[in-house]
Amino acid sequence: MDPTFLIIMLLIGLGAGILGSLFGIGGGLFIVPALTLIGELFIDGGISAKQAAAISLVSIIATSVGSTVFYLDHKVSNIRLGLLLEISTVIGAVAGAVLSGYLEDWLVMTIFIVVIIASATRMMLNRKKDIQDDEGGEFTYHDIKTGKDTRYSLKNKPLGFVTCSAAGIISSLSGVGGGLIKVPIMNMMMGVPMKAATATSSYMIGITAFSGAIIYFLGGQVLLDVAAFTTIGTFIGAVIGSRISRIFDGSSMKRYFSILLFIIAGLMILRVGGVL
């Protein structure tokens, strides 16, 4: 393998890891096109979509685990909520795999784009208000920036559960991680503070990625050297990104997350249009 390509993938992994750990997303949306587009320049026959997805899933696990360690040590992640919502995500992902033969790709992508633009708009409009301290709250999260503990209770649990299943379906059909949808669901629908929502999503994406990655890996579809360099990059990125998160408060995190959603919606439109 060309060393230049491996170094490029390490650097792209680094960027994806920083963004992924900051915002609770996997970063596959950046890694998969990079692998397929840049891979064509360095490898005869390029890297197939399946191989790119396989490498992306392995690197997402490094992002997830790398950032979750920091967020758990600082009492930001809510692993109980993560376990609960992960059940609905896995159910959705399996349903998505079954439905994939019946739905057109363009329809799925259109639904996905509409959902993330709607989420981004709502978050942008409500960006100044994050979840306030609830004295009788079941859970507590520690804000690293302010040093304060915020108690909160989960709202609309059944609706959140069902909506996360829908996120799992869309994620499974579109091949894009569910963190983009689950963070707004946790924050706007279930009353989880923004930073706790992104940290919990970081924890969840690793579990989601595991079930796909292990199948690709045991099936021999992971290019070991490319996966290793990309994974080292995302791991370092996750360590950096989770530490950068301490400089943001909940409302600025909401603003940046909504901007990220708009950018990703733009990238998705380019993908649907065949540009990416």
């Binding site: 696990i61 685990v65 758990l72 376990l83 992960e86 896995v90 399996v94 079930s211 890996f217």
Partner: protein
């Protein structure tokens, strides 16, 4: 220790060991001496979330937090079914 602390420690050690084996495996691989170590390191990285959920489940059982322990068990069961559905 709490479920959070146990999970954090488990994830930390599994990832650090996994990444160390990946780096060692890369060196060996780039010297054309086989890819077995690299394969093992990546496998370790891939299974670390599962190890984390398993440790969380046991920790919740020790804490007698049965409601969330059952949630974790359901997740493990559904993940196994999901993998089987995808694999088959």
């Amino acid at each position: 220790m709490s479920a959070e602390r146990n999970t954090s420690l488990t994830l930390k050690y599994s990832l650090v060991i996994g990444m160390a084996v990946v780096i060692a495996g890369l060196v060996v691989y780039l010297m054309d001496m086989g890819d077995e170590i690299l394969w093992t390191g990546l496998l370790f990285v891939i299974i670390s979330p599962l190890i984390g959920v398993a440790v969380t489940t046991v920790s919740l059982w020790i804490e007698k937090d049965y409601k969330w322990m059952y949630v974790a068990l359901v997740l493990i069961a559904i993940s196994v079914v999901g993998i089987l559905v995808k694999y088959l």
